[in-house]
Point group: C2
């Protein structure tokens, strides 16, 4: 899945590697650094695309024995990584999709309903709008999520392809 790569340099600027950060997070709360957790963070860190639990599981199954993890462990570890601030979770078409959140600037998405591609973008004005609205309602903002749904350039060109059902 294609992803805007303009942000990759930022990652380099991060002090700890995702794996280090995760281990620190685990140790800080008496959790253990297991083979499975290492395998999962490393695998996730090695790729920059959006992914879901099932994809990750399939990827790991494709690797050699000793680098795998069961479905429950994958789900449990993804949840921990979200807690550790390594991943962000969003729900799309009924299943959870994850993206990197460590060393990446906050951003939102354009979502193509035909090919299901996610295109990242960020907007300072958007944050201002959220703050202004929140202030008006005396609401304390923790985060926001904007998804702009439509059709991407590629799919506008090749309109032959049958449209996938919108299940937003």
């Amino acid at each position: 899945m294609a992803v805007a790569s303009d942000f990759s340099l930022v990652t380099v600027a991060t002090a700890l590697s995702p794996r280090e950060r995760f281990e620190e997070f685990l140790q800080a709360r008496g959790k253990r650094v297991t083979r499975q957790r290492r395998v999962i963070v490393d695998h996730v860190a090695s790729r920059h695309e959006h992914f879901d639990a099932e994809q990750l599981l399939a990827d790991l199954r494709g690797t050699r024995e000793g680098e795998r993890a069961s479905r429950p462990t994958v789900y449990r570890t993804l949840a921990e990584m979200v807690g550790a601030g390594l991943l962000r979770k969003m729900v799309l078409d009924g299943r959870a999709v994850y993206e990197h959140d460590y060393g990446y600037p906050r951003h939102d998405h354009l979502y193509c309903t035909r090919c299901r591609k996610l295109i990242e973008f960020s907007s300072d004005d958007l944050a201002k709008i959220c703050d202004a609205v929140a202030a008006r309602h005396q609401f304390r903002v923790e985060s926001h999520r904007l998804i702009v749904t439509g059709v991407c350039v590629d799919c506008r060109a090749s309109r032959s392809r049958s449209r996938l059902q919108d299940r937003v």
Copy 2:
């Protein structure tokens, strides 16, 4: 569930009642106007809050025989109402939540993670941002959805209440 009611007057300005609009929609495509479909549109139209399938089902069960509908029929009819432009669907905490979309201006939401209340707001600037971003990516916008997550005034006041788990 409390909802900003600033929009209610707009509803009055609508030409057809939700029920009429739905029947028109059904007839236009050879679908039938059944007792269940009538019961469901009427019930939904009689209330202005956000709701999910399970709530609607429970509400109908509380009414007298002859005004009920089975779970599959409720789900099927909600999907049709979305198709008819009567309802908008959004996914929150893992289940579909519906709100009126007929005669209501487009808006977005503040979502309180403590009491799970949805507060509506609308912003012209937001639409401009979406358009600008889309133009930059040659993306054709069909819709957008912004959810600002945080804590509402009421919950900020009564902080005693244990925080519900964030499952956005």
